[in-house]
C-alpha cells in the first residue's frame, strides 16, 4: 500500500464514506459526513496510518484531501 492508498483509506474510514467520494476536491462542508466527530476519527486514522503526531494548527487546518497531502508532506510523507 503506497501513501496515496493510505490517505485514501484514512478518509474512507474516518469519514465513513464511499471510496468513490474521496478526491482531492473533497473538503469540509462538502458532505454531511464531515463533521467534528468524523474529523476526530480522520485525525486518528491519519496519525495511525502515517505514524505522525500532528500539530494543533495542522489538525485544525486539515480541511480537505488536498490540504491533508500538503500537511502530511511537512511531516516527511511523500505522495508520488
Amino acid at each position: 500500500m503506497n501513501n496515496n492508498d493510505r490517505l485514501h483509506r484514512a478518509f474512507v474510514d474516518g469519514l465513513a464514506v464511499d471510496p468513490g467520494l474521496i478526491t482531492d476536491e473533497l473538503e469540509y462542508n462538502s458532505i454531511p459526513n464531515w463533521d467534528s466527530a468524523a474529523h476526530m476519527v480522520l485525525i486518528v486514522e491519519l496519525e495511525k496510518g502515517f505514524d505522525v503526531m500532528l500539530d494543533t494548527d495542522d489538525i485544525i487546518d486539515m480541511s480537505s484531501v488536498k490540504k491533508a497531502r500538503e500537511i502530511l508532506a511537512k511531516y516527511g510523507v511523500d505522495f508520488p
Binding site: 454531511p32 463533521d35 467534528s36 503526531m53
Partner: protein, 190 residues
C-alpha cells in the same frame, strides 16, 4: 471565574462581548442549529444577557483560544435553582463561524465543560438537548459517550452522559489529540 483546560479558557461572558455573540448567533451557520432561528436584535440580546447573567442556574462562557473569543459555551442547572446544587446539568456550546467549526478542535471545549461539571460542580449526570435533525451534534455527543434518552416536550432529542461513560472516552480521545501537549503549548497564549 474561568476554566483553563485543553488549551482553551472558558471565561465568564461579559457585557462587552454581547454584540460579538449576537453576531455569531445570527449567522446562519450557527442559527440553523438553534431552536429559535429568528433574527436577534440588539435589544433582545441585551435583555437576554441581563437575565442570564444574574441567574445562578445558568452560566455563559466565552471560549477563548490564543487570547481570542472563538465561541460561546453555557451550562444550565436542571431542576435546581443553582449550578452548584444541581445533580443534572445541561451543557452546550457553539463555535463561531470560521476556522474551528466542524473540526476535532470542538472536543476541547466539550471536554473542558464536562470536566468542570463533573469535577468542580459535582454533577452526577449531563443532559444535552439537540434538534432531532442535527445529526452532527447528535453524533458529536455520542462520540463523547452520550446515549439517547428520549425526547423532551419540545421534541428535542435528549442525550444523557454519566461519568462512567465519559471518562473512558476522554482518555481515548485526549490521548490521540494530545490535549496535554496543546495545553502546554497554549499556556503562553491563554
Amino acid at each position: 471565574m474561568q476554566v483553563k483546560a485543553y488549551g482553551i479558557r472558558l471565561q465568564v461572558m461579559t457585557v462587552d462581548q454581547v454584540e460579538t455573540v449576537r453576531q455569531w448567533r445570527n449567522d446562519p451557520e450557527v442559527s440553523r442549529f438553534m431552536v429559535d432561528r429568528n433574527h436577534i436584535t440588539r435589544e433582545m440580546q441585551a435583555s437576554w444577557f441581563a437575565k442570564v447573567s444574574s441567574d445562578p442556574s445558568q452560566a455563559h462562557f466565552m471560549i477563548m483560544f490564543r487570547g481570542k473569543g472563538i465561541g460561546l459555551a453555557y451550562l444550565k442547572a436542571l431542576g435546581r435553582p443553582s449550578l452548584e446544587e444541581a445533580s443534572i446539568i445541561e451543557p452546550g456550546f457553539y463555535l463561531a463561524p470560521g476556522r474551528y467549526r466542524g473540526t476535532a478542535f470542538a472536543f476541547a471545549p466539550a471536554f473542558a465543560l464536562n470536566d468542570y461539571c463533573f469535577e468542580k460542580l459535582g454533577a452526577k449526570e449531563l443532559r444535552a438537548k439537540v434538534l432531532a435533525d442535527n445529526g452532527a451534534a447528535l453524533r458529536f455527543n455520542e462520540s463523547l459517550g452520550y446515549v439517547r434518552a428520549g425526547r423532551d416536550q419540545k421534541g428535542l432529542e435528549v442525550q444523557s452522559l454519566l461519568p462512567e461513560q465519559y471518562y473512558p472516552v476522554r482518555e481515548k480521545l485526549a490521548r490521540f489529540l494530545r490535549f496535554t501537549d496543546i495545553q502546554q503549548k497554549g499556556k503562553n497564549n491563554l
